[in-house]
C-alpha cells in the first residue's frame, strides 16, 4: 500500500456535432482544405460580431441534464484574452463566472466498486485554429477551419484517486455524449480531448498537493499511462526531498513520459470579462424541461436494465452499452431471438465487436443485421449447423449481408443428422482403427473424442456431434 494518495481532476473538451460553427454560419466539417471553412467572423476581421448558434446551448444543457447538473437559466459569455496566431481575435469566447451548467456528477465503477465523481461545471466555448510549421519553407501558417467550432468543457472535481478511475470517468462521459448524439467522441481527431490535473499527497492529509496539468492525451491508453508516469515522477521527487512544480506537462506517447512545457506556457492572466458583443444567454424553463424530456435512456440506466431484463453479467452489460449503436444492435437481436439473450450477448461481445473493431464499420451499418444474427443462432440451436460452422461463417455474413439460412444452404454447410449416412461413416472409422477400438473397449473411453474427430473429418465438419456420439457408443458397447 502506497504512502501517497493520488488526486486527479479532469477537464474534458468535447466538440459539439453542430452543422455550423458556434458564432457564424461556416461549416464544421473535419478534413477540408486549410481555411476553406472560414468567414469574416471566425477569422476575427475588424468590426464583425458573433451570433450564437442556437444548437450549442441546447447540446450543452442536454449534457448538463444527463449528468445531473443544474442548468443556469441565465449564463454569460466571457472573453479569455491571450495572444496566439491560431486565436484570431486575441481572445477566446468562453464562459467564466456564470457557466450554463453546474454541480453535476457521474457514477463510475472500477473493480466492482461504485463511485460518484463530482462535476464542477460545463461551459460553452469556441475552439481555436491550428498553427502549421513548415521547416522546409521556414515559415508558419495558420489554418482557421477549426476556429469557432463549438466546444463544451466539462470540469470535474478532483475526485479521482487512480488512473483507472480517470479512464472509467472519461469512458462514461464519452458514452453519455455519444448517447446524446452531440459529439462523435473521436479522440484521435481531437473531438474528445482531455487535460488531467494530477497531484499526490500523503495518505490522510487533507490539503491537496501541488498539481501538474497533463496535456496531449489522445487515447484512453495515453491517459492511463501518462497519469501513472506522472504519479511515479511526483512520488520520486517528494521522496528525494524535492518539490513538485505547478506547471503544464506534455505527454510523449513514444517514450511514455511527461515533460515540462516551461518557456512556452508562461503564467497567463487571461483577464476574463463579460463579452459585450453577446447578451447574457437566457433560457426559457420550458425549453429546459423539453430537453429533459427528450433525453434518451442513458448508459447507466441501460446497463442496469440489460442486466435485469436479459440476465447479462456486469462485464457484458458494460461492453454492450458503451456505444448506443451497439446497445441498440444487441437489443434488436435479442428481441428477434427466441432463445436466451445471454447467447446473443456472447456473440456480440465475442464476435461482432472484434469484427467491427477491425473493419471500422459502425454497429448500425453492419450487413449482418440483428435479425440475421438471431437467425444464425437459431440455425445453431435447431442443429442445422454446428457452433463451429456458425462461428466460421460469421465474418462472411458480416461482409456479404447474405441471409444465414440461404448462405448455409448455398454452401451445403447444413449438419448431417441422417443416421444411415452417419452410421456408414462410423462403421468405416471403426474398421480402419482396430487398435483404438480395442483400447476403448478396454476402458480408455477418452478415445471417444478421437473417433468423433475422425467422423468429423469424413463429414467435413458437418456431422451432428450428438448423433455421432450415440452411434459410436452403440457400436462399441
Amino acid at each position: 500500500m502506497s504512502r501517497y494518495e493520488t488526486v486527479i481532476g479532469l477537464e474534458v473538451h468535447a466538440h459539439l456535432k453542430t452543422r455550423t460553427k458556434i458564432f457564424c454560419a461556416c461549416s464544421t466539417t473535419f478534413g477540408s482544405e486549410p481555411n476553406e471553412n472560414v468567414c469574416a467572423v471566425c477569422s476575427g476581421m475588424p468590426g464583425v460580431l458573433p451570433v450564437l448558434n442556437a444548437m450549442v446551448p441546447e447540446y450543452a444543457a442536454k449534457m448538463g441534464l444527463a449528468t445531473g447538473c443544474e442548468v443556469n437559466l441565465k449564463s454569460v459569455f466571457a472573453r479569455k484574452n491571450y495572444f496566439y496566431p491560431d486565436l484570431p481575435k486575441g481572445y477566446q469566447i468562453s464562459q467564466f463566472e456564470l457557466p450554463i451548467c453546474e454541480h453535476g456528477s457521474v457514477a463510475i465503477e472500477v473493480d466492482g466498486q461504485r463511485k460518484v465523481i463530482g462535476l464542477t461545471r460545463i461551459h460553452m466555448e469556441e475552439d481555436a485554429g491550428k498553427n502549421i510549421h513548415s521547416a522546409a519553407e521556414n515559415a508558419s501558417f495558420v489554418d482557421l477551419n477549426r476556429a469557432g467550432v463549438p466546444l463544451i468543457e466539462i470540469v470535474s472535481e478532483p475526485d479521482m484517486r487512480s488512473a483507472e478511475e480517470a479512464v472509467a470517468y472519461l469512458k462514461e462521459l464519452r458514452s453519455i455524449l455519444l448517447y446524446l448524439g452531440i459529439c462523435d467522441g473521436n479522440m484521435e481527431e481531437g473531438s474528445f480531448r482531455c487535460d488531467a490535473n494530477v497531484s499526490i499527497r500523503p495518505v490522510g492529509q487533507e490539503a491537496l498537493g501541488t498539481r501538474a496539468e497533463l496535456k496531449n492525451l489522445n487515447s484512453f491508453k495515453h491517459v492511463q499511462k501518462a497519469i501513472e508516469y506522472e504519479v511515479a515522477r511526483q512520488i520520486d521527487l517528494i521522496e528525494d526531498g524535492e518539490d513538485v512544480v505547478q506547471e503544464t506537462r506534455l505527454y510523449n506517447a513514444d517514450k511514455g513520459t511527461t515533460h515540462s512545457m516551461r518557456g512556452k506556457e508562461e503564467a497567463h492572466d487571461y483577464r476574463y470579462f463579460p463579452d459585450p458583443d453577446l447578451v447574457p444567454l437566457v433560457l426559457d424553463p420550458a425549453w429546459v424541461e423539453q430537453w429533459r424530456a427528450e433525453l434518451p435512456e442513458l448508459p447507466a440506466a441501460k446497463r442496469t436494465r440489460f442486466m435485469a431484463d436479459y440476465g447479462l453479467a456486469d462485464y457484458d452489460a458494460v461492453l454492450l452499452t458503451a456505444e448506443l449503436a451497439v446497445a441498440d444492435y444487441f437489443e434488436a437481436a435479442a428481441k428477434a431471438y427466441s432463445g436466451q439473450a445471454r447467447k446473443i450477448a456472447n456473440w456480440v461481445v465475442g464476435d461482432l465487436l472484434p469484427s467491427l473493431g477491425e473493419t471500422g464499420i459502425a454497429a448500425g451499418d453492419c450487413l449482418l443485421t440483428p435479425a440475421r444474427l438471431a437467425g444464425l443462432l437459431t440455425l445453431v440451436d435447431d442443429g442445422t449447423i454446428s457452433v463451429k460452422i456458425g462461428k466460421d461463417s460469421f465474418r462472411d455474413l458480416c461482409a456479404s449481408g447474405d441471409d444465414p439460412a440461404e448462405y448455409v444452404r448455398a454452401r451445403g454447410l447444413a449438419q448431417v443428422s441422417d443416421t444411415g449416412e452417419l452410421e456408414a461413416m462410423v462403421d468405416r472409422v471403426i474398421s480402419e482403427n482396430p487398435a483404438e477400438v480395442e483400447a476403448y473397449r478396454g476402458g480408455k473411453t477418452k478415445l471417444m473424442s478421437f473417433f468423433m474427430g475422425q467422423v468429423m473429418r469424413l463429414s467435413k465438419g458437418q456431422a451432428n456431434p450428438g448423433v455421432v456420439t450415440k452411434l459410436i457408443q452403440q457400436k462399441l458397447s
Partner: protein, 485 residues
C-alpha cells in the same frame, strides 16, 4: 443650380426625386466643394470620387425611386465603418492598407436606400479622443475657425457636414463622439439608444457603449438618415428587435405643450463657460415660451461618470484591439525573429500614443487582483447611473444641458490627456446608461463666436419624441448660419 451644398438633405432629396437635380449633379457639387474646402478643413481620409461618380451615373440611368429615401444623396462615413472594397483605416497606421470585403450593416442600408458614399472621414485613432488631433494621418480643422478643433472623435464627419462637403455623415458615439463634434461644428448629431442601430461593421472601441448615428445640417435630415439605418440586425446580438417608429411623423409639432424638460443641477452648475451657459439657457427659455415646463433635478452620480466610463471603455478596448496583431491583416513589422517580438513591434509601430495608453490602462483594470477594484466596481456604478437616469426620466420627458462646458477649443490646448477626458463630462453618462441623446445647435458663443450645442437626452427608444421636440425648437430659434469658408 448655385450653392447646392448649402441645402439640407431634405431639400436635396426632394430635388432629386423630382429630377430637378440629378445624382451626378449632387455628387459633382459635393466633389467640387470637397476640392474647394479640403485644403483648409482636411475632413476626409479617403475621397471616393470615381466610385461615387460611377454610382451616381448608374442611379441617374435607373431614374429616381420614391421607395429609396436617400436616392442620389451624397453621404460621408466615419472611417471606422467597414466599406466593401474601400480602405477603412480607423484613423490608424495599423490599418493603413486595410480593405474590407464586407459592408457595415448601416453602410449597406444607406446603399440600399440609394445614398451615394463619397468619402471616409478623419477621426481620432480608433475613436479615442475628443478633438480629431489623435488621427495618425492629419488633424481636421473646425470649418468655423481653422485654429480650432472640430471635436472628436467623429471630427471629420462633423467638419465635412458643416463645410457642405456632403448632406449627411455617419459618426459613432462611445462617450460623446457624435454630440461633441456636432456641437463644436454647429450641426445636428444624434446618438441613438444602444441597440437601435446595428454595430456590425463598426470597428469597435468600447463595444457596450458604441453606437452609430447621423450628423446633419437639420433635425429632419437626421430623422431621415436614422430612419434608414435603425432596426434589428440578425448579425448583431446587441441590436434590439423592436419596431422602428416613423421618425418624420412628429416633426411638424408647433408647440411644446405638455413637455417637461429636466435640468440637472450637475449640468448647469459651475465650470461651464458663460457663453455656453447663456446660449443654452436662451434655448431652454425658448422651449418654455413654446409651452414646455422645466423642472430642476439631480443626476447625483455625474461626478463618477468619467472614471466609470474610462475604466469600462479602456477595458473593452484593450480586448477589442487584440485582433490587430499583424497576423492576418493590417501592419506587420518586418524582421522580428520571435513571435512575441513580431506582436510587440507591429503594435508599437501601428498604434499611436493615446491608443497604447488606453490599451495599457484597459489591460491593467482587467488584471487579476485589480478586476474587482476597477472593472467590477465600474460595472456596478454603471448600473446605478442607469437607475439615476431612469429616476430622472420619471420626473421629466427629456433632460437638457450643454453638450460640453466650452465651445471648440484651440488646437493643442488640451495636451494633457486628463484635460481632454474632461471634455466628455456631460456626454459620457448617456453612453453608460445606453440612452438616446442629441446635440442641437442653438447659436454662437458671444465670446468665441463658435457654435454652441444644446444636449437633449431621452428615454430608451424614444428617439421619435426627442426629434420632434428638437425640430420644434430648431424652427423657433434663429437659423444657424453656415461657416464662412
Amino acid at each position: 443650380m448655385s450653392a447646392l451644398h448649402t441645402k439640407t438633405l431634405t431639400e436635396l432629396a426632394g430635388l432629386l426625386q423630382s429630377r430637378e437635380v440629378t445624382a451626378v449633379q449632387a455628387v459633382g457639387a459635393c466633389l467640387d466643394r470637397i476640392e474647394a474646402t479640403e485644403p483648409a478643413v482636411r475632413a476626409l481620409i479617403t475621397v471616393m470620387a470615381g466610385e461615387a461618380m460611377a454610382r451616381a451615373e448608374t442611379l441617374d440611368a435607373e431614374g429616381p425611386d420614391p421607395s429609396k429615401p436617400l436616392w442620389g444623396v451624397p453621404v460621408v462615413l466615419k472611417d471606422l465603418l467597414t466599406t466593401r472594397g474601400v480602405r477603412t483605416t480607423c484613423g490608424s497606421k495599423i490599418l493603413k492598407d486595410f480593405v474590407p470585403f464586407y459592408d457595415a450593416t448601416a453602410v449597406a442600408r444607406l446603399r440600399e436606400a440609394g445614398a451615394v458614399l463619397i468619402g471616409k472621414a478623419n477621426m481620432d485613432e480608433f475613436a479615442m479622443g475628443s478633438s480629431t488631433e489623435n488621427s495618425a494621418y492629419f488633424r481636421t480643422a473646425n470649418p468655423w475657425d481653422a485654429e480650432r478643433v472640430p471635436g472628436g472623435s467623429s471630427g471629420g464627419s462633423g467638419a465635412s457636414v458643416a463645410a457642405g462637403q456632403c448632406f449627411a455623415a455617419l459618426g459613432t458615439d462611445t462617450g460623446g463622439s457624435i454630440r461633441l463634434p456636432a456641437s463644436f461644428c454647429g450641426i445636428v448629431g444624434v446618438k441613438p439608444t444602444y441597440g437601435r442601430v446595428s454595430r456590425y461593421g463598426l470597428i469597435a472601441y468600447g463595444s457596450s457603449l458604441d453606437q452609430i448615428g447621423p450628423m446633419t445640417r437639420s433635425v429632419e435630415d437626421a430623422a431621415r438618415v436614422l430612419q434608414v439605418i435603425a432596426g434589428h440586425d440578425p448579425r448583431d446580438s446587441t441590436s434590439v428587435n423592436a419596431p422602428v417608429p416613423d421618425y418624420l411623423a412628429g416633426l411638424g409639432r408647433d408647440s411644446l405643450d405638455g413637455v417637461t424638460i429636466g435640468l440637472p443641477r450637475e449640468y448647469w452648475g459651475g465650470g461651464i463657460d458663460p457663453e455656453v451657459e447663456a446660449a443654452c439657457r436662451a434655448a431652454v427659455a425658448r422651449a418654455e415660451a413654446l409651452g414646455a415646463r422645466t423642472v430642476p433635478l439631480s443626476l447625483s452620480l455625474t461626478d463618477y461618470a468619467i472614471a466609470t466610463y474610462y475604466i469600462i471603455a479602456m477595458a473593452e478596448a484593450s480586448s477589442n484591439l487584440s485582433r490587430f496583431d499583424g497576423v492576418r491583416f493590417g501592419h506587420r513589422s518586418q524582421g522580428a525573429e520571435e513571435l512575441i517580438d513580431m506582436y510587440t513591434a507591429s503594435r508599437t509601430e501601428g498604434f499611436g500614443d493615446e491608443v497604447q495608453r488606453r490599451i495599457i490602462m484597459g489591460t491593467y483594470v482587467l488584471s487579476s487582483g485589480y478586476y474587482d477594484a476597477y472593472y467590477n466596481k465600474a460595472a456596478k456604478v454603471r448600473r446605478l447611473l442607469r437607475q439615476d437616469f431612469d429616476a430622472a426620466l420619471g420626473q421629466c420627458d427629456f433632460i437638457a444641458g450643454p453638450v460640453c462646458p466650452t465651445t471648440a477649443f484651440r488646437v493643442g490646448a488640451k495636451a494633457d490627456p486628463i484635460q481632454m477626458y474632461l471634455m466628455d463630462i456631460f456626454t459620457i453618462s448617456l453612453n453608460l446608461a445606453g440612452l438616446p441623446g442629441m446635440s442641437l445647435p442653438v447659436g454662437l458663443g458671444t465670446d468665441s463666436g463658435m457654435p454652441v450645442g444644446l444636449q437633449l437626452m431621452g428615454r430608451p427608444f424614444e428617439e421619435a419624441d426627442m426629434l420632434s421636440v428638437a425640430a420644434c425648437l430648431e424652427r423657433n430659434l434663429d437659423p444657424m448660419p453656415l461657416p464662412a469658408l
